[in-house]
Amino acid sequence: MAVLSEEIKQKIRDHFPRYPNKQAVTLPALHLVHDTHRYVSLEAIREIAELLELSPAEVHDTMSFYHFFREKEENRLGRTRLWVCRGLACMLRGGEELLTDLGKKLDTVPGSRTKDDKISLEFAECIGACEGAPCVLINDEYRLDVTPDKQDGLIAELRQ
């Protein structure tokens, strides 16, 4: 009852030559699984540990340090993870309001996903794009100057 597909396993194995040891592939492997499954189940941790020749506790140890990763299925991510920056520059240019508005329009709260599973809303503490405040990350792509008039367009785009 393997939860990791052979394709993901191969992608993880493909990382081995790039690092001095298999343990170093822990984070890339977690990201690969997290990106695909939208969370990393305990069973997936066991399978990652087996691939990396680590104890499951070691992989879990690393993963639980980073709140970036979701561990439970009910808490899994939507298709797109939308990070709204509330760093100082963004805050001064309407970042907090952007987060509140998006939450209302998406009918969700930061840390949760929309009912259609398409969007997970998150807040971020400065994503390093202060020149484009208020800004967001769509998964790991920047979108700058998200002024109130651009909110509906953004949501429509992510709902497609």
């Binding site: 305990l42 941790i45 104890s55 499951p56 506790a57 070691e58 879990h60 140890d61 639980s64």
Partner: protein, 956 residues
């Protein structure tokens, strides 16, 4: 890099080896630096920062990780340092539940001790949020509130025991230790070795109480160390012979600690650390018992031992009267599944005085001797007893009863290994010590579930693999240690000879042999070469189930090894071709020159704590002490002179032969000390008939065992924990086990019982102490010569030990010559033969039997140790999920396992450790005794039964 560095610590000039840490250098100089996260046996990590010192740099340095440098000037204390330590302690104490569980029990919380030292009795910081308590483990209490995240438990679990169960979860204030994937400890893969609790500085991980007063249910709390007596002893269970310390108060052991010794280096497993409370069990025998007249003719007394159908089930024709077993209902009171209900068996006996009981034994044995001769008598000693007891026992049987019919359970574990070793290299002992695994670059481990049966030895193997040693595991049932293996070869059951001959074929044909060694140290190589030529990997692959390429890869790894150690267990020895299996391993080591140097050697891992010693002491029908041949007139003359009586020149019968003799009527009277053949011998239905048929049986044991139900007289013996004696571990390390407790009631020390009985048999024995017995035994041997209680000390010696005052003894034997007539090791080529009873249409599955981590042999001790019993409460059969599906069985269903000899009912458990077509049953459980099924066919040389292979079938 210089070899030595010189520095000053607190103004003192010290010189240390390069690489020494400041903390170690200070400690060696007698300067104490407080520390919480570091322990000398752990890799330092420098996380608690309490050990900071001033090395003249901008910031303070953690001395546990900072290496000494030339001309370094170290200050271990200053107002700045003390302020730093004080603040750290205050922060740690803010969350600490004082007094914590450790302070409340053994009274040695290191954090609270430092708090007292620094006068930090008031809290300055606010307490953080409360953390959880985890009570799920049977033996260890977890309180996350007392945890200071020092990492010691994690390193103890990972690096000392290599179990890798403990990790951390989360971060910052929420960070805490976690088991596996943050499961409760009791539901994790934790094996309850207790190394974490032994390493924890605070009350986060502490031992739970296990001791009770007899007859009371409440547990006795652990008390501060200062209020207990510390008794340095050894573990009573397996052949690893771990050194430990029992903490005793009021004739009760409260807990055990691992003790530093060259053997176990302070490590213990669950049995040693938590399995000693059997001695306090209320079923201990306290007075001699004599069978009442109305319970003749003799027979089994309890339902489990009778094995009568209950409820009666129709049996297939021809099998009527065979054992048919259903799980027993739990009986009332203390009686329950798993151990005998005394209400069922005690009515058959009346209490008697020692005089009456001993006189009865003496007169009955003498009468049988007069009527039928000495050959009608036999004795079973035990590898659980000390060297002194074994020596006296065989002396009693030989000198007082006049027969060599004396044997013990080693016959059932390594007799075939010993036979092959004696023939091949002239000595039946191991040639190395298991701790040298660190020096090997390849370890071959075969037929051994080491993590269950020699758990502490396994920690050294696992550790070696982390340092680059390649582990090759060969076993039909996948042992957990295969997780650490470079090669795991799942051979077909019973095909070891085929596999190793194929490996040797590759070595010979690819020029991977050590030709110098073969030329200088061995003989008969040509015969081996001529045989293995026919065993190509391609031909053997379908026989042994390992593909030819893997066989070649294994052979090349062995052939390329600088040093290889070979360890094996019952998977090799307990076959009708067990001697052949061992011969192959010996040949493999001779072929590659892997005997006689550090990091090489042949090591059959000994089962019982004193298998080596009991054999050394002469509990063998064909040998006097130290393997001196009974049949050799010069040897016999030596012992006749020493013991002052004529001795029987004929070698005696072995364990299974004695049982067969009892059935045939040629063995009429027996004396058994600490053995339980009813459960440990193959084919129980036959053993039952044999024991019932004995004219007279005396049993000396600590409980009324299954075997004792057939006894005429039962003598209450003392447990390991109540006596002093020497025990020889698998490495040949002779160690003193010291009495921690006083025997209950009228129970007597075994050596005194033997002396009393021998005297009444007309052969007076008069010793004042076990030490005097040891001196006599040692004086008749070469191996033990020179050893005394005084020079054995607290950590023992490895025999042979020619210079006991200055040496620890001999780790590696046969560096230059083998003790064979020619001085050479002998190749003994073996052709592959199949097991005696192969699976067929009626009985299509192969049964393998063995042991579990938590239990010991027939369970007499471990099923009366609360924690061990709770961890493994009942019998089961491991079945591959495919086979479960094939038979339409669910995981957890109750099934009947039937062989041609009998049937048992027990729980089926899905397991991928076994292959489809094979099943595994642990033999500890009287209510579903695996040996009802096993076959009593013997290896022709070692006379060991085939416990590892017989044909069975599953029924719903």
């Amino acid at each position: 890099m210089p070899e030595q560095v010189q520095l000053t610590i607190d103004g003192r000039l010290v010189t240390v080896a390069a690489g020494t840490t400041v903390w170690e250098a200070a400690r060696a100089a007698g300067i104490d630096i407080p520390v919480l996260c570091h322990q000398p046996r752990l890799r330092p990590v420098g996380v608690c920062r309490l050990c900071v010192v001033d090395v003249g740099a901008r910031v303070l340095a953690a001395s546990c990780v900072r290496a000494c440098e030339e001309d370094m000037e170290v200050q271990t204390t200053s107002p700045r340092i003390e302020r730093s330590r004080r603040v750290l302690l205050e922060l740690l104490l803010a969350d600490h539940p004082s007094p914590c569980a450790r302070e409340r029990t053994t009274g040695d919380c290191e954090l609270e001790a430092l708090a007292r030292r620094y006068g930090l009795l008031d809290r300055r910081y606010e307490q953080g949020p409360t953390r959880p308590i985890d009570d799920s483990s049977r033996v260890i209490a977890v309180d996350h509130n007392a945890c200071i995240l020092c990492d010691r438990c994690i390193r103890a679990c990972d690096e000392i025991q290599s179990n890798e169960v403990i990790g951390r979860v989360d971060r910052g204030g929420a960070a805490r230790i976690a088991f596996d994937l943050d499961q409760p400890m009791g539901q994790s893969t934790c094996v309850s070795c207790g190394e974490c609790a032994a390493s924890c500085p605070t009350g986060a991980l502490t031992n739970k109480p296990l001791a009770r007063r007899t007859g009371e249910s409440g547990l006795l709390p652990l008390v501060p160390r200062s209020q207990t007596t510390a008794v340095d002893s050894v573990c009573p269970y397996c052949g690893v012979g771990c050194a430990l310390t029992y903490h005793v108060r009021d004739n009760r052991i409260l807990w055990a600690d691992g003790r530093d010794s060259p053997g176990n280096e302070g490590r213990l497993c669950v049995k040693g650390r938590y399995g000693w409370d059997y001695a306090l069990h209320e079923q201990r025998l306290t007075r001699p018992l004599i069978r009442r007249a109305e319970f003749y003719p003799k027979g089994p007394l309890s339902r489990d031992v009778r094995g009568t159908p209950s409820p009666p089930t129709p049996l297939p024709p021809g099998e009527r009267g065979e054992r048919q077993k259903t799980p027993l209902p739990r009986s009332g009171g203390e009686g329950r599944n798993g151990i005998v209900d005394y209400a069922e068996v005690l009515p058959a006996f009346r209490e008697a005085s020692w005089d009456e009981a001993l006189d009865r034994i003496a007169s009955r044995l003498k009468a049988i001797k007069q009527a039928h001769g000495s050959a009608a008598l036999a004795g079973f000693g035990s590898a659980k007893c000390s060297n002194e007891e074994a020596y006296l026992f065989q002396k009693l049987i030989r000198a007082a009863l006049g027969t060599n019919n004396v044997d013990h359970c080693t016959r059932l574990c390594h007799a075939s290994s010993v036979a092959a070793l004696l023939e091949g290299i002239g000595s039946g002992s191991v040639t190395d010590v298991f701790g040298d695994a660190r020096l090997a670059d390849v370890i071959l481990l075969t037929g051994s579930n080491t993590t269950a049966n020699h758990p502490v030895a396994a920690t050294f193997f696992k550790e070696a693999t982390r340092c680059g040693t390649k582990l090759i595991v060969v076993d039909p049932r996948r042992p957990d240690i295969a997780n650490f293996a470079a090669f795991y070869c799942r051979t077909n059951p019973g095909t070891d000879v085929a596999f190793y001959n194929a490996v040797m074929h590759v070595l010979v044909t690819e020029g991977l042999c050590n030709e110098d060694f073969i030329r200088d140290r061995t003989e008969n190589f040509e015969a081996l070469r001529d045989l293995v030529v026919d065993y190509s990997p391609e031909r053997m692959a379908p026989v042994c189930g390992i593909d030819a390429e893997t066989i070649r890869a294994v052979a090349r790894t062995i052939g390329g090894a600088r040093a290889m150690m070979t360890f094996w267990g019952m998977g090799i020895s307990q076959h009708t071709h067990g001697t052949d299996n061992a011969r192959c391993l010996i040949a493999l080591c001779l072929l590659t020159g892997n005997v006689g140097q550090p990091g090489t050697g042949l090591h059959p891992l000994r089962g019982q704590n004193n298998v080596q010693g009991a054999s050394d002491a002469g509990l063998i029908p064909m040998y006097y002490p130290d393997y001196q041949k009974v049949g050799d007139p010069a040897v016999r003359a030596k012992f006749e002179a020493a013991w002052g009586v004529p001795l029987d020149p004929a070698p005696g019968l072995t364990v299974v032969e004695i049982m067969a003799g009892a059935l045939e009527g040629c063995i009429r009277g027996m004396f058994m000390m600490g053995e339980n053949p009813f459960l440990s011998d193959p084919n129980i239905n036959k053993v039952r008939k044999a024991l019932s048929k004995l004219e007279f049986l005396a049993v000396q044991d600590i409980f009324l065992t299954e075997t004792a139900e057939f006894a005429d007289v039962v003598l209450p013996a003392s447990s390991f924990l109540e006596k002093t004696g020497t025990y020889t571990n698998t490495d040949r390390r002779v160690q003193i086990g010291r009495n921690a407790l006083v025997p209950p009631g009228e129970a007597r020390l075994d050596w005194q019982v033997l002396c009393e009985l021998s005297t009444r048999l007309g052969y007076p024995m008069d010793y004042t102490s076990p030490e005097e017995v040891f001196a006599e035994f040692a004086s008749l041997t070469k191996s033990y010569a020179g050893l005394t209680y005084a020079n054995l000390g607290t950590t023992g010696k490895l025999w042979p030990c020619p210079d006991p005052d200055h040496s620890e003894g001999t780790k590696v034997l046969f560096a230059e010559r083998f003790p064979t007539p020619t001085g050479r090791g002998r190749f003994v080529p073996c052709a592959f033969q199949t097991a005696k009873e192969l699976p067929d249409g009626d009985y299509p599955l192969v049964l393998n039997t063995g042991r579990l981590l938590e239990h010991w042999h027939t369970g007499t001790m471990t099923r009366r140790a609360q924690a061990l019993d709770a961890l493994q409460p009942g019998p089961f059969v491991e079945v591959h999920p495919d086979d479960l599906g094939r038979y339409g069985l669910a995981d957890g269903a109750t099934v009947t396992v039937r062989s041609r000899r009998g049937a048992i009912r027990l729980e089926a458990r899905a397991s991928r450790a076994v292959t489809p077509g094979s099943v595994f049953i642990p033999f500890h459980f009287r209510e579903a005794a695996a040996n009802v099924l096993t076959i009593d066919e013997l290896d022709p040389y070692g006379k060991i039964p085939e416990f590892k292979f017989c044909a069975v079938r599953l029924e719903k």
